[in-house]
Symmetry: C3
Subunit: 330 residues, 3 copies
């Protein structure tokens, strides 16, 4: 028998004073950036900022002690999975990492609904990375525990957009009034689509810088227009470097070009190097979702305006905030 | 030097009042269902029930704080490995997951005995999944720490049988007097063999429902006969659906049939759908070891008699009970 | 918001009395055995011994509670990665295991510097196993958090050398005055090179036993000579078995021989079996880095002089000591 004298730590947060069922996130799924308006964004950013302070001062906490995250990755993403794991562990929770589902019961034909319903028997929250659009919404529909979308193919990757947005807030003190340039592959870049949509909640001026064949899709531009925001389109980052507050860089991949002469013509217009940075404002930031190849030269890394590694760190804070929020501890 | 003022938590459970060296499981291996008689079954089921109460009330405990499980999987099984991990974590223990041994020192030719003797240098208990029959017994012979068999090929998978049995107990209040139907592939289904053997410890009436070529092997039937139990054999689940208390469903795989016409003839006799459930008793349960393909239709999932996801959850409780028992904490 | 009443455990060890910034290891990388002189060796061995006492008495501690290790393995090594994980977990820390980097962002072309700078956003210390010589030094140059080399190709594997050395100290009470034989493949055996270098800090007499084509490289012998140590070279372990205090065995691999007749001629000279052990001193130890194939027969395992499994366990203690030291907790 279980020894009745054994110390049992009270962990059901619902029974503790710090528990918050009224934050609007408790028990909810995080599937899409469309779930976030200004109020909800500011709530999460405030919590994420508190998480940052907590980690910088104490390293970790025990807000989620006794809670278990199932970190379910149908495709590898070291960065995102490590970030979620660290977020859960720094809050005192535990993680079941599930990284090779292609080799497991999934390949024997099990459906995603059955997999998430199994995992929620063991875990308190599920983070899902899946190559198919809509998979996170499907998982959320079947699961009774919260599901957080960690990227569903060319669909959404809301925690990336939130950490991007949060980085601008932390670095520049806010978003209203800023001029934000998205640079590189704006056609296939899921991160720039989601971030653009999120930023339309604020008073932002957009600059979209890309080769013509990789320009921002019309459906994203429609969101920008519908929300009454101004935007500029240009092909060369040099045209706008002097006036932007945020330079969000993505990679222009050779494989996107059927005409390689065209690629050779434009590729250097999308490389951020110290020379380009000399023409940038003194108070601005360079962001990148990483991994990078050569679109930002290593020589820029020591520039205080290079924010991309701080951006990574903010990813952990945002994920801490979301995990705490959906589990009712923020 | 290690700071002598540093707080060191007392974790050697042997020195704590809650420690139980006399439960009959302390320091033992869990290799086969043949280790379990009624007394031992009831002990484990009682502990597992307490684990269920503990998880439902508190989420987790710290009974195994400071203990480490080496979760050694020579073949992938997301479900079983996640269940053991969750069990250990919910008891406050930690896990070293070892999932890709085919790529590691094992392929350099290391023997299983050397691998387990290495892992027991680091861990307090070893869970082993291995494709070869008898591997768990081999590992147990060499290891001085407890080894729990998580499936050794076509051999045994005792924790699956225990969780199946426990599910019947939890759902129906006991096993004596029940009529239990095993349905589907009874020839190759390791789980139905083990569960059948376990249930012969009780007053159960068996019904074996399968295509003729997939009927229950004689050696299992011999165990049933030798223990003085009655059993019926039939080919069609419709014949017995109205009278059974437990319908344990397994998949009839097309690949088992050399004559596909035969497969086409029988396949629909082994599908559980709402129509079939209308003819079942009001108080009965449908079980399945999962993963399923189409042998239970999704429309049955919301039927309160569909117990297969609760069965998954019971797997965690059984594994919590076993881990706590072999480590002397139950 | 984060509940201000929630219990937050103080984990920033810099604010606690047990914190030690003056141990010479705090915040440092562990890249090479050349970083260790007698003073530093003895410091680590003392801490490792305390770790052994701690584990044997209490199982684990909470010295590193709230700290996170990123266990970054670019090539599989179950033994080494499990040992580091266990070391971190037994000190109350947590681990992010990253085992399949070949499938992740690394293959998309990310550089090692970017990977470690990302991981240090999440973790407090990084353990790196990488197939390329010099990779650990590269990682350490870019990371601001401590990096511990867990093997960089044919380069170094300092924690293996430290655990080997520590084993001699623990088993025989010290190193000065001992006669240490290295046996087998001394040409390609990274472990014997590093251990030999480490031992030159002490008064040791070396015996190098190998086939001629696998003899100890001149650059290692130069280190031995330069430090004024005596050494003997022989081809047959039988020549020296009666006089050595330490027999460090490595495997002679068939693939190293272009002339298989030569391999067949020598192979039995490098097998340790009970017959050979009969001629060994009563107080001596047999060591092996494992995995072994047939160079030590299983019949030797029960000989009290067979130290190789205790050697494995010492690996955990050494890694506990190093993790605690670089994080300022030893």
């Amino acid at each position: 028998m279980v020894d009745s004298n054994a110390k049992v730590t009270l962990k059901d947060v619902g029974q503790q004073p710090g528990h918050n069922r009224d934050n609007g996130f408790y028990g909810q799924d995080i599937i899409s950036v469309s779930q976030f308006d200004r109020t909800r964004l500011e709530y999460i950013f405030n919590v994420a900022h508190e998480m940052r302070v907590l980690v910088e001062r104490f390293g970790s906490a025990d807000l989620l002690q006794g809670k278990i995250l199932a970190n379910l990755f149908y495709e590898p993403s070291t960065r995102t999975s490590s970030s979620f794991m660290a977020a859960m562990l720094r809050l005192g929770g535990q993680v079941i990492p599930i990284n090779n589902v292609q080799y497991s019961s999934v390949t024997k034909g099990e459906s995603l609904p059955d997999t998430v319903r199994t995992l929620e028997c063991y875990a308190d929250v599920i983070v899902l990375r899946h190559p198919e659009v809509g998979s996170a919404a499907t998982a959320a529909r079947y699961a009774s525990k919260p599901v957080i979308n960690a990227g569903d193919g060319v669909g959404e990757h809301p925690t990336q957009a939130l950490l991007d947005h949060f980085t601008i807030v932390e670095e520049l003190g806010g978003v209203d009034g800023l001029k934000v340039a998205m640079v590189g592959d704006l056609k296939y870049g899921r991160t720039v689509h989601s971030l653009t949509k999120l930023l339309t909640n604020y008073d932002v001026e957009f600059v979209f810088v890309s080769p013509d064949i990789l320009r921002m899709p019309e459906d994203v531009l429609d969101v920008v227009r519908a929300s009454g925001h101004r935007f500029t389109v240009t092909e060369d980052v040099h045209d706008v470097i002097g006036e932007v507050d945020v330079l969000y860089v993505t990679r222009v991949q050779k494989e996107r070009f059927s005409d390689l002469a065209e690629y050779d013509r434009v590729k250097d217009q999308y490389v951020v190097d110290p020379e380009l940075m000399q023409r940038a404002k003194e108070r601005m930031i360079v962001m990148h979702p990483l991994p990078r190849v050569n679109e930002i030269s290593y020589a820029v890394d020591d520039d205080p305006r290079a924010a991309y590694f701080r951006q990574m760190r903010n990813g952990m804070y945002i994920r801490m905030a979301l995990l705490a929020a959906v589990l009712g501890r923020a």
